[in-house]
């Protein structure tokens, strides 16, 4: 490895609105190394990638390639300089052939016409390099995501590449395909290409990467050598400790005669997201769900609340087998779901706060039985008051509220239905510290009042503080269920970060 970085970012800063998505981040990539970028949702990983590939402009800071400063005005500029990215969402054209996708933009010509034969040959060569034996003339869309991803990589290396960014390249690959990909990566490494490998699979990161950079809340936490950096320290660096004052929730100790669970799920399986999951949800209890990004925690939530159709498994509510066949059906059974994508699956931004809060209740009553406007207002105001939603103006469009208050509006909508079971997926994500604590306390109070809550969060400390019991999810399976009083943040971190004992070789 040479001592001079091939790509260097100094003091990189990017704003989204008033928030710093990237805050004075320093980042270095050496030629011939495989480097990992780690951090939870919202840490700034994708922002950093977009900054170095020219998809976003830097508000401050400088980007240097081989020592000289560069100004990237578009992804095209970056591509010309040899900086290529392969994203998890395939950025290719599904309706044209594999060869064409690889060569688009630099097609071989003969007499001014496109030389299809030559294109197929060239494509075949680079595909063979990747160990991929597919027909270059076949339509891209007919191949699995795994193959498409490899084709995207083929495109990236088709012409001279210096920096290759791979964003979650292995999420749709099985063990063999992974091994093949790693072989290619090592091959590129030999050729002096700098590779940025972004993945949430810790094993893979430790297997293939030389160094790792950790981001949290848009800031650089540190840069480490993988051979010197313990797994548990890595997870610790990613998740951190929040520095707010804690008002410890007095955990209600459950009575000795264990109550019958309100909802009991056995062997839940949905696609490759979640497999053979067993969960019990008891009234008056908060069940925390801990696991890294991609572990299946969202899939578990959606399976339990009936948003996704079960491939296998049984859900029993108060002893009766139920088949929950969509949100309406779930709501009628007393189960409500709050998605982690507050903006796209939660808040209806152009409707007012009042309309958002009363939406689900109104939908349940049907079109004809309108809730009287005075009653609507009363309801909205009482929830605004109860949850301390600010500003307390129920006629504002909900989209103008801060993240924290939007989450409270969503909670109000769900609570207005008088549910029995609340499934909350990352309700405190992207919320400022003060609002976070408010929401956490609120959840505790709800459970104290007899509700059953399933609480998912990436912040393990939060999970412990709010949850009575914790379910640990890894790679689509529930690894363990432990009372939170038996756990500390460190021990939970260890469980979440533990190398997967179950074989990944099972078909995904």
């Amino acid at each position: 490895m040479e001592t001079r970085p091939l790509l260097e970012l100094a003091g990189g800063t990017v704003y989204f609105g008033a928030d710093a998505a990237l805050d004075s981040v320093d980042f270095r990539l050496f030629p011939g190394e495989v480097h990992s970028l780690m951090g939870e949702n919202g840490a700034g990983k994708s922002t950093l990638i977009k900054a170095i590939t020219g998809a976003l402009a830097l508000a401050a800071g400088e980007l240097r390639l081989a020592g000289s400063p560069v100004h990237l005005r578009s992804p095209h500029d970056a591509q010309e300089l040899g900086i290529r990215a392969v994203y998890q969402e395939i950025d290719l054209i599904p309706n044209i052939s594999v060869a064409e996708n690889i060569a688009l933009g630099c097609e071989p010509r003969r007499f001014g016409m496109i030389d299809w034969a030559r294109m197929r040959e060239d494509a075949h060569a680079v595909l063979a390099d990747l160990g991929l034996d597919i027909d270059p003339a076949s339509t891209l869309g007919r191949h699995s995501l795994a193959v498409q991803q490899l084709v995207a990589i083929a495109r990236a290396i088709f012409t001279d590449v210096r920096v290759l960014v791979l964003d979650e390249p292995t999420s749709s690959l099985d063990v063999d395909e992974c091994a093949e990909l790693f072989r290619v990566i090592r091959d590129l490494q030999q050729r002096g290409v700098a590779i940025l490998f972004v993945s949430h699979f810790l094993d893979q990161v430790y297997e293939i990467c030389d160094r790792v950079t950790v981001l949290r809340d848009g800031k650089l936490v540190g840069e480490y050598l993988t051979r010197e950096f313990l797994r548990i320290d890595l997870v610790h660096a990613m998740l951190g400790r929040s520095a707010d004052s804690l008002r410890a929730r007095t955990l209600l100790h459950l009575a000795d005669g264990r109550k019958e669970p309100y909802l009991s799920a056995r062997s839940l399986s949905v696609g490759s997201g979640i497999n053979e999951a067993d969960v019990d949800l008891v009234e008056g209890e908060v069940l925390g769900v801990a696991g890294l990004l991609g572990s299946g925690r969202t899939e578990l939530a959606r399976a339990i609340s009936g948003i996704d159709k079960l491939d296998a498994g049984i859900i029993r509510i108060q002893g009766n087998d139920e088949s929950i066949d969509g949100p309406r059906s779930a709501i009628s059974l007393g189960i409500v779901y709050s998605s982690e994508n507050r903006r796209t699956e939660g808040i209806i931004s152009e409707l007012t706060v009042q309309e958002n809060i009363t939406l689900a209740l109104q939908a349940e009553r049907g079109v004809l039985r309108r809730i009287r406007p005075s009653r609507q207002r009363e309801l909205a105001l009482s929830w605004v008051d109860a949850l301390d939603i600010r500003p307390p103006d129920v006629d504002r469009p909900a989209g103008t509220l801060s993240g924290g208050n939007q989450q409270k509006v969503l909670l109000a909508r769900l609570l207005a239905l008088s549910p029995r079971l609340l499934v909350l997926d990352e309700p405190t994500r992207g919320i400022d510290v003060g609002a976070k604590v408010e929401v956490q306390n609120l959840i505790g109070e709800l459970a104290d009042n007899g509700l059953s809550v399933m609480f998912i969060s990436a912040e393990l400390e939060e999970v412990l503080r709010v949850g009575n019991r914790v379910v640990v999810v890894q790679d689509g399976r529930i690894v363990d269920t432990v009372p939170s009083e038996d756990l500390t943040v460190d021990s939970l971190t260890a469980m979440v970060a533990r190398p997967d004992d179950a074989s990944r070789g099972s078909s995904s």
Binding site: H76, L92, D133, A146, L150
Partner: protein, 339 residues
């Protein structure tokens, strides 16, 4: 080390050749289906009427629908990018009546023809600019074009204008014969335009960019393709085709008539869709649109042979359109399922 990933078990039963074909040219299936339908229609008509498939009738098929063919080529370009052009019928009427008017005023065909082509191109350019640079939905932008062209057609003349110009009439009246088959210059024009269109779509970067835009515009941009220019150009091409169609229609009917082409855009869209082009963009062949036009023309001829109302044509075409879209949806649905 092979990473030949699993193909759905459903197709394992087909021959390997068939599988390769499907992998490569699945988007050709709807076009093949259209061709089969065309053949079936002809066969059915022949059986029913007895003297349907004759060289005379088949030659007339091209003659009568030459204008539609030209329009369909232009429309294919637009639809494959995921857009739509509702103005073509009106632009055709406008350029047609303008042509007749200018000829009647004494100008030579050598001047008039380029002028009307430019006229069509200008309206197409307007639509393209609105769509690309002002983010106007193609539907609305081409609607404005429709209004504009239709109004302009009436501004040129409120009633029909006869064409006496020899060179224009020559386009239609001359027949090149081969046995009982014949073809007119307008027919040759139409086929030539179709051939050029097909070539451009398959063998030029411009054509491939069109497919890319229809497949995933964002990706196409990220891949460095000149999306903006291409999107504007397809509407210009559609406008040029409409101009040429106006010329052909005027030659065919011997007059320019401002009420021409009302509803023609729908016929064109139907022909293109029946020919296998998806309205959502990204797939489609000029060849398919040609077949679609012939299917449309055959239905029209069958109905006139039957002595039934011409209005049946539109109904049947409408139902066929529905059928095709339904089938297209199922195909798309199935291929999405596979992933």
């Amino acid at each position: 080390m092979s990473t030949d990933v699993a193909t759905p078990s459903r197709r394992v039963t087909l021959g390997r050749a068939a599988r390769t074909f499907l992998d490569r040219r699945a988007s050709l299936m709807p076009t093949l289906a259209a061709f089969v339908i065309f053949v079936v229609l002809l066969a059915g008509a022949e059986i029913h009427f007895g003297n349907f498939v004759t060289p005379l009738n088949m030659s007339a098929l091209l003659l009568d629908n030459a204008y539609l063919l030209i329009l369909a080529v232009g429309m294919t370009f637009v639809i494959v990018t995921g857009g739509i052009d509702l103005s073509v019928g009106s632009v055709m009427a406008f350029t047609g009546v303008l042509c007749a008017h200018l000829l009647a005023a004494g100008h030579s065909a050598a001047v008039v023809v380029p002028v009307i082509i430019l006229g069509g191109a200008a309206i197409g350019l307007l639509i393209g600019v609105l769509v690309q640079y002002f983010d106007v939905q193609p539907f609305i932008a081409s609607l404005a074009g429709l209004f504009l062209a239709r109004g302009l057609a009436y501004v040129v003349s409120l009633s029909s204008i006869r064409v006496e110009n020899e060179s224009i009439l020559w386009l239609q009246t001359t027949r090149y014969r081969l046995g009982e088959w014949y073809i007119t210059p307008t027919g040759i024009m139409a086929l030539l335009i179709a051939a050029i269109g097909a070539f451009v779509m398959q063998y030029t970067r411009f054509g491939r960019t069109i497919y890319a835009i229809g497949g995933n515009e964002q990706s196409a941009r990220l891949m460095g393709l000149d999306v903006a220019r291409t999107k504007v150009l397809v509407y210009v091409i559609s406008g040029v085709c409409a101009g040429l169609a106006g010329l052909v229609l005027t030659a065919y009917s011997g007059a320019g008539y401002p009420r021409n082409g009302i509803g023609t855009e729908l016929d064109v869209i139907a022909a293109v869709v029946i020919g296998g082009t998806l309205l959502t963009g990204g797939t489609g062949y000029v060849l398919g649109s040609v077949i679609g036009v012939f299917v449309f023309g055959t239905i029209k001829t069958v109905i006139s042979f039957q002595g039934a109302e011409q209005s049946w044509t539109r109904i049947i075409v409408g139902l066929m359109l529905l059928l095709f879209i339904g089938v297209q949806r199922i195909i798309v649905f199935r291929s999405e399922r596979r992933r």
